[in-house]
Symmetry: C2
Subunit: 471 residues, 2 copies
């Protein structure tokens, strides 16, 4: 049965694919006798969903291939801390290479999926080779990093699978506001965090030049954040802490000119949190001098300035944009599967299998988790917590399948509450949606919960040891 699948797919793909098979076989040559008995599991994406599957799946029973464009997992809750320099960048990433050569890993994009042939068309995400002509990048390369990625080497390859986990995540939403990709920073990846950190210090060094007027200085030190969700709020909080510690110490006269502004189109920030906790955060921010500009609409962004419907032109030194999720291009390219009308994510059944558009049948060999997926009967938020729990569910299922055991128990979400850091060593912790408990915490206790919750998460031992030394 397995053998038939294998040849069926190999025969249908191009000449290049046989070279692929040759190339991929070589690194695993030492265990080729075992490999022949293992089914091929391909994981697309190394975020909260994909990395957890990679981490947990039984690699002795599965022939695992990880396709990740970045090559690492971002521990996203620490990115805001990295962006202001509290944490080292290394603390916030885990390379997928940690699991090679036990698994095969390619730094590559998946451009399209053939669910019938069970093949993936892939493109290297490494820079073009000397002898290759660069193809056009999917997204334009922008000064702030944006959604751009390497053009790819121009030579694609085909990857087959027996089982497939789609965990490619989502892109940053811009609502088509002109200039956002070119002039704003997102905060989804450790490289974004690095660019933001560089830019913050650059703003102060620019403002420190003796040739500037005070108006020019205030413009450079105007820090704007668009999007009042947890990411925007936590970054505002971390930035506030930075301005009131290291920056005030080393640039005392400039620190007084700096200003943080948090924009949202909604009437409140932290819309997904319990109202009383969101109010606590707003009060805390106002006391700290952070301007909360709710009910504000950014209409256009240019270099160093944006146009706000309610304010007119607003100059900034740094603009961080975090207004939710946009569909991943791979998901957009898929036409054979059922999708959610609102988010355009892949619909799954309660076993997290994707569903064919014609006939509405689940594909037993393909699962979709994380921000690229939504269950048709249970709408869960697009959070790390949901992605992580779905991944753990898939791991259990895969390990049962490998042992030939039945596994049709549906996925159940266990809400563990939401946490957000609001600055000055204070956090809010919303467990009002959590199971069995009705707790809301704010202030120092919630901060301790926030830190300890993240510390006991996925981070490996190396990072668990390292993180506190940077505090």
């Amino acid at each position: 049965m397995l053998r038939v699948n294998y040849f069926a797919s190999v025969c249908s793909i191009s000449l290049r694919a046989s070279r692929v098979a040759e190339a991929t076989a070589r690194p695993r040559g030492f265990s080729s006798s075992v490999a022949r008995n293992k089914q091929s599991l391909v994981i697309l994406g190394s975020g909260w969903g994909g990395y957890e599957v990679l981490r947990g799946v039984d690699k002795k029973r599965w022939d695992v291939t990880m396709l990740s464009a970045s090559g690492y997992f971002n521990f996203t809750p620490l990115l805001a801390g990295c962006a202001v320099g509290t944490l080292e960048f290394r603390c916030a990433v885990e390379p997928v290479r940690r699991y090679t050569p036990q698994v095969t890993a390619y730094q590559a994009w998946c451009d399209s999926i053939d669910f019938k042939q069970k093949t993936l068309q892939c493109m290297p995400a490494t820079p073009p080779l000397t002898f290759e002509k660069a193809v056009a990048p999917i997204e334009e390369i922008t000064p702030t990093g944006g959604l751009s990625h390497f053009a790819g080497t121009g030579t694609g390859f085909t990857q087959r699978y027996d089982k497939l986990v789609i965990a490619v995540g989502a892109y940053a939403q811009t609502f088509n506001v002109p200039g956002v990709k070119a002039h704003a920073h997102f905060l989804k990846d450790v490289r974004d965090a690095r660019r933001i950190r560089t830019r913050i210090l650059e703003c102060f060094e620019q403002a420190n030049q003796p040739t500037l007027s005070d108006v020019e200085r205030r413009n450079l030190l105007n820090f704007c954040i668009v999007g009042g969700g947890p990411t925007g709020v936590e970054f505002a909080a971390e930035l506030h802490d930075l301005l009131h510690s290291d920056i005030r110490r080393h640039y005392p006269s400039l620190a007084a000119m700096a200003k943080i502004n948090l924009y949202d189109v909604a009437p409140n920030i932290l819309g997904t949190f319990d109202r009383s906790l969101a109010s606590y955060a707003e009060q805390s921010f106002r006391r700290d001098g952070i301007s909360i500009r709710t009910n504000h609409h950014v209409e256009k962004v240019e270099k160093g300035k944006m146009f706000v419907k309610e304010q007119g032109e607003v100059a900034f030194g740094l603009l961080v944009w975090s207004t939710g999720l946009a569909p991943n291009p791979l998901i957009t390219s898929i036409s054979q599967l059922a999708k959610d009308e609102k988010t355009s994510s892949l619909l799954t059944d309660d076993n997290l299998n994707v569903i064919t558009k014609d006939g509405g049948m689940p594909d037993p060999d393909v699962w979709a988790i994380g921000d690229a997926a939504v269950m048709q009967d249970q709408r869960l938020p697009a959070t790390a917590q949901v992605a992580n729990q779905k991944a753990k569910y898939i791991v259990k299922k895969l390990n049962k399948i490998a042992k030939g055991q039945n596994s049709t128990k549906p996925f159940e979400f266990h809400n563990q509450g939401s946490l957000a850091y609001v600055g000055d060593w204070k956090a809010i912790y919303d467990r009002s949606g959590a199971e069995n408990v009705k707790t809301k915490e704010s202030g120092r206790l919630a901060w301790l919960l926030w830190r300890s919750a993240y510390f006991t998460q996925t981070l490996s031992l190396r990072n668990k040891i390292l993180v506190p030394t940077y505090w």
Copy 2:
């Protein structure tokens, strides 16, 4: 006397300068009554010479201004370790901001010096502001970083001094071999180290793509180092360690294809070391499989390949270039002072004061140290050790001058020997030139000396604590 100097210089400079004076006065406003009694000391450069002067000088008695284009000190012996990922980048730098607001610091280049008027023409080294047009960069911006720097904001400023320390260092020597700046990496700055680290991993990820032939893989994994001095040798050693630890663990089949080549035009590597120690290093390298290609001449570099007189075309994935020093553009721009014929560095007397070209008189207010300077009666090597000792001498002198004490004792160099890491936890330690001792050490003992010598150096407490945790 002081007041006269001050006004003499202020009156002779342009209108922009008064705005400068206004701007620089503001951050130090809180101590303006004290500041009026202090002489102005300007330090150009934050390397081994300049940073040590900044660190040691009595900031209560001197009104100190640091002009540094990077804004930080590079702990150069750790750069090779950073470039292969053994050390965090943060370990190898010390920001000059550590000393603000006690001192004034500008991230800026000095373009020219008027020794008569005692003024410096400076250009911000931060990126151009939104409303400014970028001027042409001094060096072209290259993919590998090279010698390029920010174009500057286009608006220069004038800085006056009572006393001046020129410690701008030197640039990387390319001997005008075409293509070096565009396609090779230098290893003089932590940003170079970061680019090299990124490139090493990129080479392995590129070579790991399933579409490549083994010839293409071997080309990508051919690592070339041009220059057999301590920097080239230490980088080769660190790279060898990396290939035989993490790389072998995670890319086992690719690690076997990787190759390290060390080129030099001279018949031996480590020409400045004792012959028996250099031979020990060569033997150690040969045993490790590092190709030592002495008596080889690189004639041209292109993207991914170079042309060697003795070999023809040589493909590489990474080329690190470290063939000594070239004059700093600021030093080249100075026409009024005596210079060394061979190196074009500034000549100084044994008090380290620069010497006028006409008349050969020392300028009592200007000192030159580090790689940009050479003493006319005592030719010392252009090393960190010499720069550091000269800086300590200047600090003592400045602190005496501030107290009105006489200080004409000439500089004396105390040779503490040379250390170089040669891989596999082994180092060589040459004290054959050192005072009173005739010791040469090689192997493990020398390695311990190498590490401990650097640990007890300039690194601040924070870094002393942090460095071992990364080991």
